[in-house]
Amino acid sequence: MFMPNLVRQLYTVCIFLFISILSINVCADNLASMPNVNLGQVLTQSEIEKFAITIYPDGKHLPKGQGSVAQGRKLYNNQCKMCHGESGIEGPAARLAGTNGWVSFSDPLRILRIKQYPVLLISVGGMWPYATSIYDYIRRAMPHYAPKSLSNNQVYGLTAYILYLNDLLDESARLDEDSLPKIKMPSHELSVDAWADYIEKAKNTKSTINTNNKK
């Protein structure tokens, strides 16, 4: 095909430019893995305080307040019993007290209950490693039909009552922001951390690969 010199030169320049743009785009793609879009707006301290409801095992974010086993029992009978059962083991909702598993000497009907509601295989008292989590979950999600409707003191009372059902508090006990994080849950010592194991294994694999590369 006939092509005057000038046109041909322009054509070459255009192709060159096009390729350059392509390669710039490739570079931009690499840089784009961490773009500086910066469209986040300032989140104020008062907004954080309104929403930050998570309670940590060391008691961080626990509100001031207190509640007794007796106060908790009253609330439990009015608002919780219909789902968790008379003594926290009957279901249909999650079992609150006792050990995990199929059978228990203290609960001869357990197998029948589990057949009806398999989630009763595990219990809060048998599974949860920190009592602070009980407070956290009641306050954010219970009762199921009216979440976030209980006062901080009421949540202390209910937490105390569940701990009492698990023989972890006396009938006369009270619970507050200082005493709650000190409760030792039976399953705490049984906990193993699969993520820590995974990270450890990944590190070892990586170092093996690196050693191989050096060789």
Partner: protein, 429 residues
């Protein structure tokens, strides 16, 4: 079909796919062409008289939002019967034995909700990030939409998928939907979380993030920072459209390859911390009890797993000694599927199945193998291996590791028993 020319690759009638394809080709070319007769009455023929009714009337208009055929309305999710309904805890299973390929229609995607599905106004919803950061920030949806959005095809599986086979003393006579319906595949699109974490600036002590939803129960999980800086996204789209409410509208955390429960729906708050919060689900329902009584926390990965979906439980093979294309799904939270082997004789011999493209990391992968049923009682099995070399365990191998009542992360090899009448049942191999 000339079975003599088909190569078998394992006992029980498993066939070589290549020989099958060549044979099929010969079959089609040998098919006789029907003769075209011309008669004198041809001029008076009204073609409509002998054709189906839908070929003789104009069709309907389309809908603004398309729906499945009215003939397919029976293909639905099933509600898990063992869920205590009074606790608003619902588990819906997807009918995977009615699907092909690797994408689950959004409306059929499995969904597990611990306190119902909230009705969130997207204009009032914000993603807040605070805690161990240089500056606390919030992002509305319009802002998030302006960040680079990545899309990838991934599976999502509930940690409790196939739990009945993990803990039930007897193998329950249930369908694939009942036993395996808490797995789905979708294309998820959203903003890589590392962009947002980079913007707030992580303090050196930042190790975990407590991720929380804006639902009635404020569902929360503690997620390691390593995952969030790797392939985690704030998902805004599923299969090309904005998230469905039961998948977390207007936004959810998506963690490729990790248990469904950690993929926090309706996400609104990320609190960066130096340690996990031990929220309700990581304290109880989503922990694993090991054989020695220890309780394993934070086992996020979903292990390598496979299931034959065609044919599967509660179905019946319609033709004795007929040809069937065995097909199923394999997936791994550790990467791509490397191979899937199938046995048609209860595990004595195995043959490698064909894997359909695309074979993607942490995604459903579709496998096939042609099979000539010999009409006898047998058991079909499938076992997958992922690119890390993880091989799916047998049920016994899996159970050795866990307490008899531990039901999460079950990935044992699935066995479908076929009796001489072609009736298919879930069994323990």
């Amino acid at each position: 079909m000339k079975n003599k020319s088909l190569k078998t690759v394992a006992a029980g009638g498993l066939l070589d796919r290549r020989s099958f394809l060549l044979n099929g080709l010969a079959f089609t070319t040998a098919y006789p062409l029907s003769s075209i007769a011309s008669t004198s009455s041809e001029a008076h023929t009204v073609i409509g008289e002998t054709l189906p009714p839908w070929m003789k009337v104009p069709g309907k208009g389309a809908l603004a939002y398309g729906q499945p055929s009215t003939h397919e309305l029976h293909i639905k999710r099933h509600l898990e019967k063992n869920t205590p309904e009074t606790s608003l805890f619902s588990i819906w299973h997807t009918p995977i034995e009615n699907q092909r390929g690797i994408i689950t229609p959004s409306g059929l995607h499995f969904t597990v909700n611990h306190n119902g599905i909230p009705d969130i106004d997207p204009n009032k919803h914000q993603l807040m990030i605070h805690g161990l950061v240089d500056k606390s920030l919030k992002f509305d949806i319009d802002s998030l939409m302006r960040y680079p959005i990545v899309s990838n095809i991934h599976f999502l599986e509930c940690a409790g998928n196939t739990a009945p086979n993990a803990v039930s003393f007897n193998a329950l006579d249930q369908s694939c939907q009942d036993l395996f319906g808490q797995i789905s595949g979708s294309e998820w699109a959203g903003v890589p979380l590392k962009y947002l974490l980079q913007e707030v600036g992580l303090k050196p002590s930042a190790k975990w993030v407590t991720v929380e939803g804006a639902d009635g129960g404020s569902h929360a999980r503690s997620i390691p920072i390593e995952k969030l800086m790797d392939d985690a996204i704030i998902a805004l789209y599923q299969n090309g459209e904005r998230l469905r409410p039961e998948q977390g509208y207007p936004m959810r955390l998506f963690l490729p390859g990790w248990e469904g429960n950690a993929n926090v729906k309706w996400v609104h708050r990320l609190e960066v911390t130096d340690k996990p919060a031990f929220t309700k689900d990581e304290s109880g329902l989503y922990s694993d009890v090991l054989d020695d009584g220890k309780i394993q926390r934070f086992s996020f990965h979903m292990g390598v797993k496979s299931v034959i979906t065609h044919p599967s439980g509660k179905q019946r093979l319609p033709e004795k000694k007929g040809f069937y294309e065995i097909s199923g799904l394999a997936w791994s939270g550790h990467g791509k599927i490397r191979k899937v082997e199938v046995s048609a004789d209860g595990g004595q011999t195995w043959a490698q199945a064909h894997l359909d493209s695309p074979i993607l990391s942490k995604s459903l992968t579709r496998f096939h193998i042609p099979w000539q049923w010999q009409g006898q009682e047998t058991t079909l099995l499938s076992r997958a291996t992922d690119e890390q070399g993880n091989l799916q365990p047998t049920r016994d191998q899996w159970r050795e590791k866990y307490a008899s009542y531990s039901f999460n992360h079950y990935n044992g090899i699935q066995a479908w028993h076929i009796d001489s009448n072609g009736v298919i049942k879930n069994v323990y191999a």
